[in-house]
Amino acid sequence: MDGKIFYITKAKLKEFEKEHEELLIFEHKKALEQEAPKILESEDLNPEFVSFQEDVGFLRSRIDELKNIIDHHELIRNPAKDKQGIIGLGAKVKVAVDDQKDEFIIVGTLEANPALGRISNESPVGKALLGHKIGDEVIISSPIKTVYKIKNIKYETN
């Protein structure tokens, strides 16, 4: 928080806005001591949403969190066509590390999940890759040297 800007994709923003709206309605209904909406009994529903049912404190903190993100976000947009050869936020990057291939998407901290290849732009690797193009070798050292050879850069439509 503290004035931090959250870089998020359009899809994620929509997701957050929807969740925020639904939680506000839910909170209101809960305050009126109405029964939980039928939707909460659905198995398809986001389990985290269902779990808010009996935890008012958690519900409120999530609503505040979402509001803060929505108020302080900056959308990750694809760069102009002539700049799409350069790694920026939202870029899907194919790299070779030693002899192994890997793929990353450079995202903001809220969407980062390295186990899924979603690397935060604030991590040392994410930060170092930004601004590079195919063919570049990005070296991460201190203390161990790792070389990331950039093989491909792609921006998905967003």
Binding site: P47, V97, Q100, N121, P143
Partner: protein, 424 residues
């Protein structure tokens, strides 16, 4: 940050500090101080909640109550009294030692002095605020100044009794009597007494006239957590680390690290601590997993070679593995929490979900703190055993950490453990 890193390294010694009170009775791989503290924190949280105590204070007090053992060791009431003769000693440790008031006082003051000096030595390089916080909590626990302090002392004995009960379940020759004798002098809280009744009746082989479902279920839950004290972290096992830390030990230090590092951020520490305590409890049934699991060759040489690299997988493989792990752990969490009171089981599930999905700043922060603890342990093992290989850890770390405090911490780790690499 250097001072904090050194503090965490010293605190880590409690992962290997075997509890003498359990070792007396010939128990193989007795629990460590770190493991005892882990479960004590969960027991304390659950009962503090029922009794409307300050849960954050209770958790912090529990986490630090045995930090004095880092240098003072585990001082038991039997120290200096054990008969040399084997048979006599066998008999002696099966009863609570009875001493005159004067002797009790002398021994207590000696113990207190030694432990206080040890704690002061441990925290001497922390900031004045951190030092004061830890020392105040410790003294509150020692003297029982606040209701939380008095409560935590009783929770300490309660965890001991659960541990003794679990040892007795495995081996009916384990003497629980001295533990009861001690607890009976300390525990006056009616809620805890009611819980202990369930253990007592089980040990006596008696049935309750009116079944106490709540406490029965709590006992089952706490006893299941015992498994985390014996379960080695898989990442160390596949790297052939001797006597690797248990999951419970990892949780203990991760909780302390999250608290102290979390103080540098505007976050809810109570929530962070609760998340820390429950984040791995699903492993009781799901077991521990590592990013190497799907790739592990049976051949030893190939396995060792694999450990030198960070596993690189395709997007599809990453997604598949993540989903599989999530599903398995979620169902394990459902299983372990299913008989807890509903609001408690929901709270645990929310916290875990938050940790997994990063729903709040606390959930996101703890995820990083959890990995920092793991990373620190890897560096410590590497220094001691020359394994695991350092390269994959650093490769992973530079992709993983993005929180400014975590980044500052890993820079400090680099200075501490890779001085030569940095120089070269």
């Amino acid at each position: 940050m250097k001072e904090l890193l050194n503090f965490f390294i010293e605190v880590g010694k409690l992962k290997g500090r075997e509890r003498k009170g359990i070792a007396f009775y010939g128990v193989k791989n007795p629990e460590t101080t770190a493991e005892h503290t882990f479960r004590m924190a969960i027991v304390g949280w659950f009962f503090a909640r029922t009794e409307h105590l300050n849960v954050e204070k209770v958790l912090k007090m529990i986490l630090i109550h045995d930090l004095c053992e880092v240098y003072a060791g585990d001082i038991t009431p039997y120290d200096g009294l054990l008969p040399k003769d084997k048979d006599e000693r066998f008999k002696f440790v099966r009863r609570w030692p009875r001493l005159s008031e004067k002797k009790k006082k002398t021994r207590y003051l000696r113990k207190f002095k030694k432990e206080k000096e040890s704690l002061q030595r441990l925290i001497k390089n922390l900031s004045p605020k951190e030092k004061k916080e830890i020392l105040d909590y410790w003294q509150d626990y020692e003297f029982g100044n606040s209701k939380e302090g008095r409560f935590v002392r009783q929770i300490d004995r309660t965890e001991n009794l659960i541990e003794a009960f679990n040892c007795w379940q495995r081996d009916k020759n384990f003497p629980t009597l001295p533990w009861w004798e001690h607890a009976d002098q300390v525990i006056d809280d009616p809620v805890i007494q009611k819980f202990l009744k369930v253990i007592e009746l089980k040990e006596l082989g008696k049935k309750q006239t009116k079944k106490d479902h709540l406490n029965e279920n709590l006992l089952v839950f706490f006893s299941e957590l015992e498994k985390l004290k014996d379960m080695p972290r898989r990442g160390w096992v596949i790297n052939d680390i001797k006597n690797p830390e248990s999951i419970a030990s990892h949780i203990f230090r991760a909780s302390i690290m999250a608290w102290i590092l979390g103080n540098k951020q505007k976050i809810n520490i109570e929530r962070v601590l609760k998340t820390a305590l429950i984040h791995d409890i699903c492993e009781v049934y799901a077991g521990d997993t590592t990013p190497y699991d799907s790739l592990l060759p049976k051949d030893d040489k190939k396995r060792k070679a694999l450990m030198k690299t960070w596993p690189r997988l395709s997007d599809i493989e990453k997604k598949k593995l993540q989903e599989k792990k999530f599903k398995k752990e979620k169902s394990a969490l459902e299983k372990i929490t299913k008989n807890l009171p509903r609001d408690l089981s929901n709270e645990i599930k929310h916290l875990w979900f938050d940790y997994e999905k990063g729903l709040t700043k606390e959930g996101r922060f703890f995820k990083q703190a959890d990995r920092l603890e793991n990373f620190l342990q890897a560096m410590e093992y590497r220094e001691k055993y020359k394994k695991p290989p350092k390269e994959p850890w650093w490769e992973w770390a530079k992709e993983y950490f993005d929180d400014p405090i975590s980044l500052e911490f890993i820079e400090e780790l680099a200075k501490k453990f890779h001085y030569e690499d940095l120089k070269g």
